[in-house]
Amino acid sequence: MNSIRALIVDDSSVMRKIVERSLNQAGIKLAEVLEAGNGAEALAVLQASKVDLILCDINMPVMDGLEFIKQLGSVENAKGVPVVMITTEGSEAHVVQALSSGARGYIRKPFTQEQIRERVLPILAGQT
């Protein structure tokens, strides 16, 4: 697998670092990691940069993850980019809402390395 550019969206800088480390430990080669603290920041990042993968929290101030996914369609750089939600919100309603809005995967916090590997690698390989 080639190196990828990832955008990690979470209001916690600690969690952004954990997700980055988890991707590394899952064997995903990261050419660059971009970060945003909420959905609005992430949209601004995507106006200027192209990425291969977006990992996004749901509960965030300013713009939450579900609103962010809804608005992604209007960003040229984001078209076709897979989004994986990583969140404490594990309700069926949230999962359905996220997936129906275009998310390709859903990982609940707390998570294991295996869960990151199992959910993200197939998406990057185009299997889901």
């Binding site: 600690v14 480390r21 069926e92 916090k109 707390p110």
Partner: protein
């Protein structure tokens, strides 16, 4: 053996104590590869960090996680793989995330609660010279644990 304070807990919520205990232990196992142990009864440590997450909807209330600054630094170092002596902003951030994950993991374990209960973003208070009052309708559920000998206390205050 149960790790929680049960004496004032209503029957309605008593069954939730083991789930709160499990939810907390799982966060430390999965995110820090760390096993929490039981906190000795009667230990009343001075806690410097209180991380809080509000719950709204089918369950209203507040979940708080209290620990010492030293344990907060250890938690941050385990989550980030950094120096355990750090005293930077990542300590509060890490403790807030722990409270967030414990709250989310806890509600995910209760049938019928997950779909109707939302979490707030975490708030973290540091220091000791303050009092905290929640307008709870029920006695709080408390789980008292320790990591490397340092206490961590999880409190769930339920409004209605």
């Amino acid at each position: 053996m149960n790790t929680a304070t049960e004496s004032h807990v209503t029957d309605e919520h008593k069954d939730w104590i083991p789930l709160l205990d499990l939810a907390t232990r799982e966060v430390f196992q999965m995110m820090m590869s760390s096993e929490l142990g039981l906190l000795d009864t009667g230990t009343e440590p001075n806690m410097d960090i209180t991380s809080m997450v509000g719950l709204a909807g089918r369950l209203c209330g507040m979940l708080s996680v209290r620990c010492t600054q030293k344990l907060g630094a250890l938690i941050a170092s385990k989550m980030l793989g950094t120096d355990p002596d750090s005293n930077g902003p990542e300590v509060a951030d890490a403790c807030g995330e722990v409270a967030n994950m414990v709250a989310g993991n806890f509600k995910n374990k209760i049938s019928g609660l997950n779909d109707g209960c939302m979490l707030s973003v975490p708030t973290v208070v540091t220091g000791r010279d303050y009092s905290l009052r929640s307008l709870a309708d029920y006695p709080a559920l408390e789980v008292r644990l320790q990591l490397e000998g340092m206490p961590i206390v999880v409190l769930l205050e339920i409004h209605s």
